[in-house]
Symmetry: C2
């Protein structure tokens, strides 16, 4: 085994093991995220949590364990710095922190080096204040992957939808991150659809990309996002629901889809003018990316969906100096 | 006693008793709002709740009890209709529903008439879908009051800040409500400052209009609202907090004030272009209105603060055909 990579975020963690050629040997995931306190004892013992998670893999003698994501935040295992933009992704590995091998863990004669990857930040006056942790590693992989496949096409705009959706502008030369912006789309959807005035009309309804009713309502939300600032339009989701003559179950689905369209459309409306006609690449969960693709098309943008696991594996290959 | 008016909202209720000349005899308030389920038994007995609240006043023989607000919603005592815009406020009283006198309550030989006031709604294609319950009664009072004081000046734009902030355009002739829009400003502030990514940096900090640090950060939030759609700027509150070198307690206050400035500024940015140089009147809690006044001034608008109790009492006078 060459290395192990763990994408250790707020709500979950995903581990991948690569062989000497950079090929995937094994993968696993669980919900022991950094903010998922219920899953663990207090105070946290991240070394023990690591052993619980991938202890069996350690017996195969990996050289490195790469950690990225919220595990490097103030509330994580150890605080890793934020590298300030503009920042070449090729330097991420060299700027990782080496963590002390957890006391009491001895699985091999030579324990692997535990390397904690830094995050990125954008500071005024170069840009608006913004931070990321974890996405930079996916981006390193996306750049590595696309550069290898298409020579000069490793740059452009990358969208990483999720709890905190990131839009990142990347220069193909050296994989320099030029700027990025974060939208709290996923978090807002979760907060607003479960409580308060909109929670009252949505009542936990979920939406399905194959449901014509949801699609029509999603498109309506996209139109609202184009007409109005998102904050101004949120209450329309409730008002339209209260004034609707639709059966209750349908009204709930419509409200959920309008909220989703409004929030995702809000991202698109903000970036559509900046990003022009260029190709966007979305790195994310396919079930979420299809909604973004629909929204992109509504705003005249073209969106290509990239598999996030492929990106993460390519990042590990890049960190290990292996060709993709 | 001429009448009793109860502004019975989601989280609280406020009662006022007027004499034959429209003068205030007594007032009281509690937290038994329509959505405050903890306060009451299930299923709700609104008649009994009314008796608990103002039973002693009934012995003074009021002719009418006027109810407004969420008590007239689907989850309230009885569902009152929404009157569709444009709607003359002078017709509100005539369109109130008369509720049956609650069984088992006999406080006077002639029980008062219980009158449930309608809400207002705006329906596409005349405008974006929107609804209000309770604010229409305050507006009736504001119109009545200003018309009496300044003849033709009863119209213009009224702002009613709160959980769901309303901006209402009123024609002075007949007090016709021409259009309105709702911003979920207060609700968003509550949701976002107590949980999730922004709750993590705000940690329950409160802000004070006399605190220079809070004012500077509030103004920064206003600038963000002017630069960016509100949804795009929310995460800046977190990022700026994480990147700040300020002491922890100060960073929390700054984050709270930036979020407040961003949300209130978001309202102002949306309406500033529509409302031009006209005078705005804000009907609301003075401690909240001062922040709106600061935001209005930032966006080149002039805001006059109107006392909400004066408006409500003027509404009762109007409903009883008494001169203010």
């Amino acid at each position: 085994m060459r290395c192990i990579g763990i994408d250790w975020g707020s709500s979950s963690r995903r581990a991948y093991a690569l062989d000497e050629h950079g090929r995937l040997l094994a993968q696993r995931a669980d919900h022991a995220g950094v903010l998922n306190k219920a899953a663990t004892a207090s105070p946290r013992d991240f070394g023990a949590e690591l052993a619980d998670f991938i202890g069996d893999w350690l017996q195969q003698g990996p050289r490195h364990i790469w950690l990225s994501g919220m595990v490097g935040s103030r509330t994580g295992w150890h605080e890793a710095p934020y590298l300030t933009l503009p920042c070449a992704l090729g330097t991420l590995g060299a700027q990782a922190l080496t963590l002390a091998w957890p006391a009491g863990l001895q699985w091999t004669a030579t324990p692997p080096t535990v390397r904690l990857l830094p995050g990125l930040c954008q500071r005024p006056p170069q840009g608006t204040a913004d931070v990321m942790r974890g996405e930079e590693t996916q981006l390193l992989g996306a750049w590595h992957l696309h550069q290898a496949q298409h020579a000069s096409e490793g740059g452009g705009v990358f969208l990483m939808p999720g709890t905190h959706s990131k839009w990142v502008r990347l220069c193909p030369v050296m994989g320099r991150v030029l700027s990025f912006r974060t939208f709290m789309t996923g978090e807002l959807y979760e907060l607003l659809s479960r409580q308060g005035a909109l929670g009252g009309v949505i009542q936990g309804a979920s939406i399905d990309i194959d449901d014509e009713i949801a699609l029509r309502a999603f498109d309506e939300g996209l139109r609202w996002a184009g007409e109005d600032s998102g904050l101004a339009a949120l209450f329309r989701v409730r008002a339209q629901g209260l004034l609707s003559a639709a059966p209750a179950a349908q009204a709930r689905v419509e409200a959920a889809a309008r909220l989703s369209g409004l929030l995702i459309g809000g991202e698109m409306a903000c970036v559509a003018s900046d990003e022009g006609q260029g190709l966007l690449r979305a790195i994310g969960e396919p079930g979420l990316c299809v909604w973004y693709a629909r929204a992109a098309s509504h705003f005249g943008l073209q969106l290509q969906i990239v598999n996030p696991v492929d990106c993460y594996l390519a990042a590990l290959q890049a960190l290990e100096n292996l060709a993709p």
